[in-house]
Structures are given as structure tokens and as C-alpha cells.
Symmetry: none
Subunit: 167 residues, 2 copies
Amino acid sequence: MDRFVSTFTNKIDAKGRVSIPASFRAVLERDGYAGGIAGGLYCYPSLDAQALDAGGERLAKKIDGLLAGLPDYSDERDELSVALYGDVQVLSIDGDGRIVLPENLRAHANLDAAVSFVGLGEKFQMWEPKLFEARRAEARSKVQVTRKLFAAGSRPSSDGGDEGARE
Amino acid sequence: MDRFVSTFTNKIDAKGRVSIPASFRAVLERDGYAGGIAGGLYCYPSLDAQALDAGGERLAKKIDGLLAGLPDYSDERDELSVALYGDVQVLSIDGDGRIVLPENLRAHANLDAAVSFVGLGEKFQMWEPKLFEARRAEARSKVQVTRKLFAAGSRPSSDGGDEGARE
DNA sequence: CGGGCCTTTATGGGATCGCATGGGATTTGA
DNA sequence: TCAAATCCCATGCGATCCCATAAAGGCCCG
């Protein structure tokens, strides 16, 4: 497995520690984790959501790629650089696969008692569980519309067994 | 055989385990199951039905293909990522060909005692048996062609009346 | 054509393993 | 010296593996 998939919700303990889901840790290790598990986890506030984005080396490279695509000394680049790099924290993962979220990150995502880890393929997000439920419901309702477009184009004719299964 | 066909109903045991029909397992293996049977089964709530969609690598690639066509950091991609990756569960298949359905998936499809596995070609669905019966009956009442076949006396083997599982 | 053996499959239960979580001990930095 | 962060160990729960059983279907042989 080489992508972050699924959603897991873990608790924040009295010391502010949270376990990263085991399957996510596996992805991080395979992601070319500089320095093995002792390396770090790239984490920063989501640009457009009340959540945190996180990932390994691959995500870091992707951010570099985005910035590289913009002209030097442009306003956009400056703003993106600040927005992304400026708030990035490299969190260390302890021997039990846990991290401690700094105060400013906790505040941005409104995290206190628990964290929902949401796999998004090349990265994952950390949400306050209730906020994520709302977000998920919203996403699903929007995708309902989009989905029909995809379904019409991508479904092979062999899928004829459909009758009776849906309406 | 390389498509999921027919319908089978299996029980959920005290631990929440369900056997995947043997013929479906065969399809999964032939589907280019990365890492052999130890790989996983991609499963998520149907967007438009009270059921679960599931499939193998082919289905996973399809999801990737959808996302690959969208630009990074676009709204559409975010929505789809959350709706698909976030909701997708990679269920592991044990040595006996069984899976354990997580609570949120069980809830979506209203599964408790048994599951009807419905082949849809490249993927299959998992239904609460009674719900599926209702759906099937509804669909059949709409399909007038079936009546004509009966009247003509040329009862095709494909008629569904007997596809129920063993029990 | 029929009967019996053998394989496959679903299902149940017990045992084991891994993971999330909590608490104490130890180090680090001011 | 004290506070805060890190490391290490304990534990409980859930998930996973392994084996046993039984029923069904297929196959071969009579």
C-alpha cells in the first residue's frame, strides 16, 4: 500500500499525544522516510479548511513542485511560500508512533479531545471529528452530481448486471 | 471468469465476519490482486443506494484515474478525495476468505445478520438481504420483458428467481 | 444410471498478535 | 531546581490467524 486511505479517529491523551494510525505509518515509512521513523512528519494548516495537512517526503516534494511552477519573485509565489512553508512544522514521531501537536496547529483545527485522520492518497488531513463529519456530508452531496458525469463516461457496457441493484 | 456475477447471501457471525463468495474471490485474484490475497478489498458506501460498493485493484485504479484528471488543490479534487478516499476502506481478507465490516459501513447499508453479495460486473455490492429483495422486486416489476419471456414459455436460465444463495 | 467418496466452501470457536492508550520514569532546557 | 518534553513499559481491547466441523457439490467408479 502506498497511499493514505480510509479514516481513523484516535484520542488525544492528557499529554497531548495522538497515535498515528498504523496503516498511515506504514505509508510514511515506504514514502522514503528520511532517517527512518526518526525522521519527521510534515504538517501544516490546510489552506482552505479548518484542518491540518500532513504527509511525508512525497508531499514535501509536491509542494516544491508547486512553487517551482510559479515565476520567481511573483506575488503568488511569495504568498504561497509563506502560506505553505511558513507554517510547516516537522513533527517527530515517537517510538510508539505518536506525535504531539503544537498549540498553534491545534488551534487552527480546533482539536482538543480527539483527531480524525483522513486519508487523501498522497497526504492525509487531521480534523476535529465533528467538523469532519460535517465536511464529509457536504462532500458526498456535491459528489452525487459529479459522479453521474463520470459514471456515464467510464462505465463499460459489460456492466449490464446492474438491474435491480440500484435505481 | 473475470466479472462478478450472480447473487449470494452469507451470514455475519458473532465477530462481524462474513465469507466472500468463492466465485467473487476468484475474480478478485484474477483482477491483478497486488500482493496476492493478502492485498485488500476496496469498499465504500454506495453514493446512491443503501448498500456498499466493493472491488479489487481494477476499481482502485478507476478511482485513481478520476482524481488524476483533476488539478491539485482544486475544489473538485478536494471534494472527490474526501468523498472517495476518505470513505474508502481497504478491508483485509483473511485466510478463509472472510472480511470484517467496520461499523460505519455496516451502518450505511443497515447490515446486521447477513449480507447479500450482488455481482455487478467489474464490482459488486453488499446489501441487507431484505432491502435487496425489495429492490430487486421493484426493478423486476418495471421490466416488462421478463413477462413476455414467461408467456412464451422460453424461460431463460438467467431469470433470477432462483439465484438465492445456499443456506 | 446410481451411489459413494473426495474436495470445496461456509461457519464457528479458540488462541494469538498488534495497536491504541495510559502512566510512570528519565532526560532536556531554561 | 523546576517544568516540559521524551522515552519506556504495562494493559486492555479489538483484530487476525489457525484449526475444527459440517454441509454441499462434483467426480469417479461401479
